[in-house]
Amino acid sequence: MEPDDNGIEVEGLVREYKKGPRAVDGIDISVAPGEIYGFLGPNGAGKSTTVHVLTTLLPPTAGTARVGGYDVVKDGPKVRGLIGVALQEAALDPLLTGRDHLRLQATLQGVRKDQRAARAEELLNRVGLADAADRKVSGYSGGMKRRLDLALALIHSPRILFLDEPTTGLDPQSRTALWEEVSLLRREDRVTVFLTTQYLEEADVLADRVGIIDQGKIVAEGTPAELKAEIGRPSVHAIPHREEDRPRIAEFLSRFGEPLATTRDVAVRLRDSLGLTDIVRAVDQDGVDIADLELRAPTLDDVFLAKTGRTLEGATEEADTAEQAKGKR
């Protein structure tokens, strides 16, 4: 990769913390210029650590990483000069206004003095904060803070953008607005985007390619369509009328495929050549009492489940519980 390239190349990246496990355990990633790469995984999987290494905030324990053609260890200042970063916590100063932040960031990023005000204005309009520009950030909603964070990351027109869980905690409307903005950046400015998320939908909607990380290792990588195609077969989910019917429905459905671990309904991954009509016919013949029956195409959660044996939601809850237990100790 040449230094004028916008891509990201990671080989055998390892990051160990003192007295801790390997947060990142030998990962390889290749992100093409102008691509949106979704890095999907539960809390504690190693997503943020990877972002910290790629953005020069943490040195790797082993392996190499090149961002925009520059080595993150040897050429830290050069890497910082061409990337924009919005970290997981939108670290903003509650006493400064949105415009104050942009002015400060523009100066620190070396934006020319005669261009700072216009660039700030342009970005405030772009992220829909023009009306709130002169209000202190302490009065901003979570969505407004995220949008300001994005504007700050873009102040020096970076070629590569790192977004660490940019929509966590946002309402659906703010989430959609941010997705549109990220898509626009790629479409119009050809910015390469490295996006971490724990939301399947986000990775599915936004990313050209997805890397799924669990316990520091990449367990799957490809386009969302490729990953889902790996799973191949759809699943059928049934909701019983009565809770006591659940075992009977599970036994009934097991005739059509292998059972899936779900909590809300009874589900099986369909065997090849079977379809929903086969099940509906059997339901009718056997007189099985089902409130709702649904055929679902494979999702990224199915991919995660197939690769790790856990659902993404379950893995996130596990990580949260472990984190709480650590906090109590």
Partner: protein, 257 residues
């Protein structure tokens, strides 16, 4: 890229932040003056003691707010910087082209500007209450310069504590410790008139005494070379040590490749 605009931007942020927090601006101005007024009322008769250097206790006590105000600056600067560490704002700064020394210089430049504002306020209070500055207009300029150096030194101490601990609570907890240095000093009486032996020895060993006496000499004596040399000397040594510690702690805190 020149670092001067970066220093200016960080200093501006420091000043804007402080000016938007009345709780950071008012106490360093009001509390030291209020304490001085209380002391001046209660200890006025001290001026009758043989050897007391002035007949105005207010003029004698006016030196204390200069140092007390600087202690407030230490706490405010330290707490602000510790908050930057706690919230991750320092990572935002680390991801820019900002140089470590420019961050520290800018932050301290903001503290110094606010320190000078404080000193101007104390001087105005002194002039308004009839205190005569024996060193004249030039002495007032030296007081301003000294106030700037004291703010810089104490601000650097606050910065060191902030980057070292990364905890605003720890810095606030240390504040009373710094105040002990102020109280065990010659703030309320000249050292030669302190009757309790241990207190006089402690005040003599305490550098804060010499800082107060430096300011005091410019107000009530005129030009006292020894007091000035000791006052400037101690504060410069404190400043150099604090700056070295702060910049080392900042380098460790602002990890980047």
């Amino acid at each position: 890229m020149s670092s001067l605009p970066q220093v200016g931007a960080i200093a501006r942020r420091s000043i804007v932040r402080t000016s938007r927090q009345p709780a950071s601006v008012i106490p360093p101005l009001i509390f030291p003056v209020a304490l001085m007024a209380v002391n001046a009322g209660g200890l006025r008769s001290s001026t009758d003691l043989p050897g007391f250097p002035t007949d105005s206790f207010l003029a004698f006590a006016l030196a204390v707010p200069f140092i007390q105000g600087a202690l407030f600056s230490t706490m405010n600067a330290g707490t602000d910087l510790a908050r930057d560490v706690q919230t991750g704002f320092i990572n935002r700064l680390a991801l820019t082209a900002l140089r470590d020394w420019a961050l520290l210089t800018g932050q301290l430049a903001g503290v110094v500007v606010l320190g000078i504002v404080q000193v101007l306020f104390y001087i105005a209070v002194g002039l308004a209450t009839g205190v005569e500055f024996e060193s004249g207009a030039l002495g007032i300029l030296v007081l301003l310069a000294y106030g700037a150096i004291v703010s810089l030194s104490f601000g650097a101490l606050g910065a060191w504590l902030a980057y070292r601990t990364g905890s605003g609570e720890t810095i606030q907890a240390l504040f009373p410790v710094l105040f002990v240095f102020l109280f065990i000093s010659s703030m309320n009486a000249p050292r030669n008139l302190i009757g309790v032996d241990w207190f006089r020895i402690a005040a003599t060993l305490n550098p804060v005494s010499y800082m107060i006496e430096c300011v005091r000499s410019l107000i009530i004596t005129g030009w006292d070379a020894q007091a000035l040399a000791l006052g400037f000397g101690f504060v410069i040594v404190l400043g150099i040590a604090s700056l070295m510690l702060a910049s080392r702690a900042l380098r460790m805190r602002m990890t980047r490749t």
